[in-house]
């Protein structure tokens, strides 16, 4: 593959994906070599406190799944880097959620031991509907539908950045190609896009779906 194409991951992804489907023997190696650093780098920025080994393992899983079933990826809906990032992110979030649940269960059992069983009033621990934490941390099937819900690649990139906990307006401004606007204008436009995306996702993900998967 030429240098020019390698420098354009979106085009390279489309070409390499087709080669993988065609049974090209070096395609998996070329895909791994080009996309592992990109995906690991993006995820590491999103999870700065997470063990790098976990991130690398999640990316390895994403690639192995992709190599095993390349036909599940639709390049018309999402670029290959985004697809792999989404897949690895889903694994990471599931892993973090499992760990969180285990920690909660542990602290709850420690807490319950202090009290008798005949409590008269129970308190239901339910926070407000926090879309980012609920949807982004609990509901992995949504990632399979993401491309249908948000067909615009810019919207998909924004969701991926939100999933990764990106807070910098300038990063979103780059994606939206509004970096030339004044900072206040950038912040306003970014917020408008994020709110619109959240509304779209919220409309399409019911609470029951979230709790079933949570």
């Amino acid at each position: 593959m030429s240098e020019e194409i390698r420098d354009d991951p979106k085009t390279a992804g489309r070409i390499l994906h087709q080669r993988l489907l065609d049974g090209d023997v070096t395609a998996p190696a070329e895909i791994a070599e080009l996309f592992m650093p990109i995906v690991i780098n993006k995820l590491s920025r999103g999870y700065p406190n997470l063990d790098s080994h976990l991130i690398e393992t999640a990316v390895e899983d994403a690639l192995m799944n992709y190599f095993g079933r390349p036909e599940q990826y639709d390049p018309a809906k999402l670029d290959l880097a985004g697809y792999l990032r989404m897949s690895a992110n889903g694994d990471l979030l599931n892993l973090l959620e499992r760990e969180k649940r285990m920690t909660n269960q542990q602290s709850l059992s420690e807490y319950v031991e202090l009290f008798d069983d005949d409590t008269e009033h129970g308190v239901e621990a339910q926070d407000d509907f926090d879309l980012e934490s609920l949807v982004f941390a609990h509901c992995s099937p949504i990632w399979q539908r993401l491309a249908d819900l948000l067909p615009n690649p810019v919207d998909q990139e924004i969701v991926l950045l939100m999933m990764e906990g990106e807070r910098k307006t300038s990063i979103y401004a780059d994606v939206l190609e509004i970096s030339d606007c004044p900072p206040k204008e950038q912040a306003r436009i970014v917020k408008r896009h994020k709110d619109r995306i959240k509304r779209t996702l919220k409309r399409n993900i019911s609470r029951s779906e979230v709790s079933e998967n949570g």
Binding site: M1, G23, D24, V25, T26, A27, P28, A29, E30, A32, E33, M36, P37, I40, E56, T57, V59, E60, L63, M64
Partner: protein
Amino acid sequence: MGEMTVSAKVGKYLAGLARRLKDNPGFMAYVLSVYQTQERLDDTALAEHLGTTVNLLSRLALCKRPSTESARFADQVKQIAAYISTDPAVVANVIRQVGSLEALARRPVALDPDRQATRQSHTEAGLLAAARDRSEADSDQSPPSEQESSRED
């Protein structure tokens, strides 16, 4: 075609993925792992045997395994060899040797359970010797060794 070097960081990522694919017979990672075990080669020795570098071994490991039964076998081997800048004949021999061992290992060994246990203990060394003979004999000929062994069955 990629460059003939891989940065240390990317090399580490590729090596990690290659390790995960060692159990997948569809990848060269599996072929290299079996070959290394049977020939008792570490990565450096394997790289030397293949005429490449340890760094490029991961690239090779992440390639799909060409099927010796495919009409595209020679072309696929050439493509892989060019990708890691090595001699296609050496790559082909490694693939054929591992394929021969797999084919021989699939043969029914013995009906008598006692004899079977005894023969299994000799299987690895015997198969390796047989495969070596076959690889050498096959190196300039095309008939895939798996087909030979299935005819023998």
